[in-house]
């Protein structure tokens, strides 16, 4: 092997020490006389060394809250019954779902609008602007959260204290994420990342509050005759 065309495809394996002795000797002899291929080999070494030093990457601040919310849902699900959710706190949760679904739709619309703003001409009468849509979406969430929060607070004493403490801690984490996102939006109102992060955190809060209400319902009516007979 003497030409660059023959040597070049072997340089990666050569740098990794992944060639037999005769190939190694052939490549080494070529590199001794070819500055261009020797340069490629040196750069591959540098790349490999730099890559091995690439470290961990810190997850975004809201990541833990998102995981907590999903784990809470998963860990509570088997304990809940569909009948229990049909009672009054459950109806409050269902109402909140409707409100949030409306909010989520508006958020989706707002995100679509933001993406298409540069090219789209919309004849829709209302909402009239992206800001209006975002404000409307936030109002949906705020209303849903306020309703759920009121239900959760009134029934909190019926929960196991350890469960209540865990839920409270999780809500605190999510509230921190909401506050961070609101601050980021204040600093840069056009930041799509801050907006998405805020709506994700609001959705997580709704999810945790819905779970809280479902747990209260379970605690309140452990032997309800209706359990399992309604859907």
């Amino acid at each position: 092997m003497t030409t660059c065309e023959e040597i070049e495809p072997r340089l990666s394996e050569y740098v990794d020490g992944d060639v037999d002795a005769s190939t190694r000797a052939g490549v080494a002899a070529h590199l001794a006389s070819c500055e261009r291929c020797a340069g490629v080999a040196v750069d591959f070494e540098r790349l490999r060394s730099a890559a091995s030093n690439l470290g961990p990457i810190a997850p975004p601040p809201g990541a833990w809250a998102s995981i907590v919310a999903r784990v809470e849902v998963e860990s509570d699900a088997p304990r809940r019954s569909s009948a229990a959710r049909a009672t009054w706190p459950g109806l409050a949760a269902a109402a909140a779902i409707v409100l949030v679904a409306g909010g989520a739709y508006v958020v989706h619309q707002a995100r679509q609008s933001a993406a298409a703003a540069a090219v789209a001409t919309s004849a829709a009468a209302a909402p009239t602007s992206l800001n209006d849509e975002l404000t409307q979406a936030m109002q949906h969430y705020d209303t849903a959260i306020a309703d759920l929060q009121a239900t959760a607070t009134s029934g909190e004493h019926q929960l196991d204290p350890a469960v209540a403490a865990t839920l409270k801690r999780n809500l605190g984490v999510i509230d921190d994420a909401i506050a961070e996102s609101r601050t980021a939006m204040t600093v840069d109102p056009t930041s799509a990342a801050a907006r998405d992060s805020l709506f994700d955190a609001l959705q997580q809060k709704v999810t945790v509050l819905q779970d809280t209400v479902a747990l209260i319902t379970d605690a309140r009516e452990p032997d309800s005759p209706a359990r399992g007979s309604q859907r």
């Binding site: 065309e5 890559a51 091995s52 690439l54 784990v71």
Partner: protein, 194 residues
């Protein structure tokens, strides 16, 4: 020079603290799952960012820990908890890439012949490589060669291990690695010129 095999799947051995933490997670002990997250999420998020790209990595990190929560009962202490999590995360990253479909299918295709690495001037063209520049350049690579580069050069896997993980031949893994290094060299050279 050949490197000894040293990656997240081989370098760590289980410790008593791993088994204890797994048990605490299984029984929903207060703070246990958060301890697991704080200890391992930066490494797993780094892997996910480099394998699937940052936007998807944020969702994937949730999937990784949700999957860990569901499967914690399967952890028997045969390996370090970090090793077990890393394998779980790698598999989820690969599944995610496969779900992207067409792009991933090119991984097993024959690579098109490319001209020898163009070396403007002669000799080495890369100086000290900035970590952020390398991460940015990495993000521009096609899925196939980026995945092999991350597993081999960043995480320290051998080609036969990569072949097993990705379901490709060792030779394909080697070709993809070579292609990745060539493209990164070009991208970083362009970057230095600007």
């Amino acid at each position: 020079m050949p490197r000894p095999s040293s990656n997240a799947l081989t370098r760590a051995v289980p410790e008593r603290v791993d088994v204890a933490l797994a048990e605490r997670c299984r029984t929903d002990a207060p703070g246990a799952f958060e301890e697991l997250y704080r200890a391992h999420s930066p490494r797993l998020f780094g892997l996910a960012c480099r394998m699937v790209g940052r936007p998807d990595a944020e969702d994937l990190l949730q999937e990784i820990f949700l999957s860990a929560y569901r499967k914690m009962g399967q952890y028997r202490g045969d390996s370090a908890l970090g090793t077990w999590l890393f394998r779980l995360a790698t598999n989820l990253c690969v599944d995610h890439l496969r779900s992207r479909g067409a792009k991933w299918s090119r991984m097993t295709d024959e690579l098109p012949e490319e001209p020898p690495a163009a070396a403007p001037g002669s000799g080495s063209v890369l100086g000290a490589i900035d970590r952020m520049d390398l991460d940015r350049a990495l993000a521009t690579l096609p899925d196939g060669c980026r995945t092999v580069f991350v597993l081999h050069d960043v995480e320290g896997f051998e080609h036969h291990e990569i072949g097993t993980l990705l379901g490709i031949a060792d030779g394909t893994s080697k070709s993809q690695l070579h292609k990745a290094r060539r493209r990164l060299r070009e991208a970083l050279t362009e970057n230095e010129r600007r």
